[in-house]
Symmetry: C2
Subunit: 309 residues, 2 copies
DNA sequence: GTCAACTATTTGTCCAGGACAATATGACTA
DNA sequence: TAGTCATATTGTCCTGGACAAATAGTTGAC
């Protein structure tokens, strides 16, 4: 069924493969040179044409790399050995929360209605802040892990994200504050498309009496600086998902810190910052939501709770 | 004020410039080779380090290219000649709708509250479909043009998008249908982050009695195919903004068409498809919203209004 | 046995410069 | 004016070499 349309497939050029897999052209070429895989066909002009199978295998390898495997080993294996690695082998290391498992099951089976009802119920029961910290964040982590174990695909992950996004946007629409401090600009760097982290942070900030300015994802650094100035914010808060390469994230943070006025704080949150080892001067790393509260408290003590702008 | 933090700027590596400007590394290098601009400094290792000024100039050049200028000409000019080109010179060619001008002014001056009130008012007055077609689409076009004329920045554009997104999501949350036909999957290809187009299409489809499945932006082709199968949709609808290179869009559509079952229709909408000259077999190009209605009607006639799945 | 320091390997990204196809421009003709 | 063809422009692809950052493996001290 899935291969029915692969009749006269001429193959995908390298740019398409980069777009689909997220592996750079440089990486694709150097893998071919070093490990002999993938070895795509060539067109009349000598340009690479990858088969659908190769693209699927590359996506699989990328997933396994996120689980800690190294490309040198993976690329030496054949398809069956890869498949053996790719099965959901180990049990989940964290506490096996039955409710989370329950939800994960719903995500896997695309049971949108049940998922949405349950979200609303838990939100009402726990309140927004606890809902974010105790339910959303762990569940998103679980979904990410499940994806890396090949238990569900990007499709399910997207659908799940859309439900949460709808929930947050409707909830937040009814409680937009007129004022508050600190004023915090929320966005991501170019290349980071995940908005969910921003919406969760926005929720927490509103509840805590701060004034978030949601700018949406993917703002160039120059424009972040200008926005911070125009909106007179006290802090810029960026969000990084697992997908963002830690080395790129660190570079981006350095670039931005260099251009931002010293009085404007720079906070970086999300799963993606956990990979950053060395602290960056003038940047506050916020890997967990709890650390965000710490950041807020610290700012309020240091400034007396008043915006400097 | 804007240059205050540029004290010890060591410059940005080529990867950062690619991320910030959207110009590929290949393009940056070939411009340097051919036109002698930009000529970045080099670090101890011989790697390029671009100054902030160079990055700003590159962004300016990219904007001017979107207005129809050619790089060969632009890169031969010096900074002052570029600035002369970059002023908002010509008047807008279309009908100078005073209301649109009014709104554009609000966008430029970050008058969020007034903007939001006016959106709600017009939505109530015209109804959702007319609001999308008569107000939203032209306004988005106008904002895009204003951006290309350097009258406003990405920051303002992001803020504007966030307001519209909030409006659509709250409106749509209250009218999600239980059924309808055709069933249409809504998403974009990797690299296209704009969600607004999808939300507008979703609105129109709901109003017209169809059943949209919103998947959010940036789904890999493989996953689009799987989603179409699982959700048993009759059509996949992709959205392309101006930013998406027409050649990339066409290639992506060909890639997807090749993998999708023949019975599943493929519609491609948005400003970005206007750049596609040659029709692509099996792909329905929908440059204007009116064409979407045509697509719907055609599908209903051809199939008798019933899903084939 | 554990931890730290050091060395070796791995791996992604950068570089140069050549080539070519797709697009846009401009000249010429009907 | 509109269509056709030659020419110029321009982005992307190619090869193969190099190197720095990160990771793995080893050794030695406590």
């Amino acid at each position: 069924m899935t291969t029915e349309a692969t009749h006269n497939a001429p193959g995908l050029p390298i740019a398409s493969v980069e777009r689909e897999t997220g592996l750079s052209k440089d990486t694709l070429r150097v893998w071919e040179r070093r490990y002999g895989f993938p070895t795509p066909d060539r067109d009349a002009n000598g340009e690479r044409l990858y088969t659908q199978l190769q693209v699927r295998q590359l996506a699989q390898i990328k997933r396994l790399m996120d689980r800690g495997h190294r490309p040198g080993r993976l690329l030496a294996l054949d398809a069956s050995a890869l498949a053996a690695l790719d099965t959901p082998d180990e049990a989940n290391p964290g506490a096996p929360d039955p409710q989370l498992d329950d939800w994960l099951e719903r995500v896997k089976s695309h049971d949108s209605d049940a998922l949405e009802r349950q979200f609303h119920r838990e939100l009402a029961r726990r309140g927004l802040a606890r809902f974010v910290v105790d339910i959303c964040a762990p569940l998103i982590t679980r979904v990410g892990e499940a994806w890396s174990r090949n238990e569900l695909g990007i499709f399910e992950e997207h659908l799940f994200s859309q439900h949460l996004e709808k929930l947050f946007r409707t909830t937040l629409a009814n409680m937009a504050p007129q004022s508050g401090s600190p004023r915090v600009l929320l966005t991501t760097l170019s290349g980071e498309e995940h908005t969910l982290g921003l919406l969760m942070v926005e929720s927490l900030l509103v509840v805590e009496g701060a004034y978030p300015v949601l700018l949406g994802p993917q703002t160039p650094i120059n424009e972040i600086v200008r926005a911070a100035q125009v909106k007179a914010v006290d802090a810029v808060c960026l969000s990084f998902s697992t997908a963002y390469a830690p080395t790129q994230a660190a570079q981006g943070l350095r670039d931005l810190r260099q251009m931002l006025p010293a009085r404007t704080e720079l906070w970086a949150g999300g799963y993606g910052v956990k990979g950053i080892r060395k602290p960056i001067e003038g940047v506050c790393l916020v890997p967990e939501f709890q650390d965000l509260f710490d950041c807020l408290v610290r700012w309020r003590i240091e400034t007396g709770g008043k915006s400097a702008n």
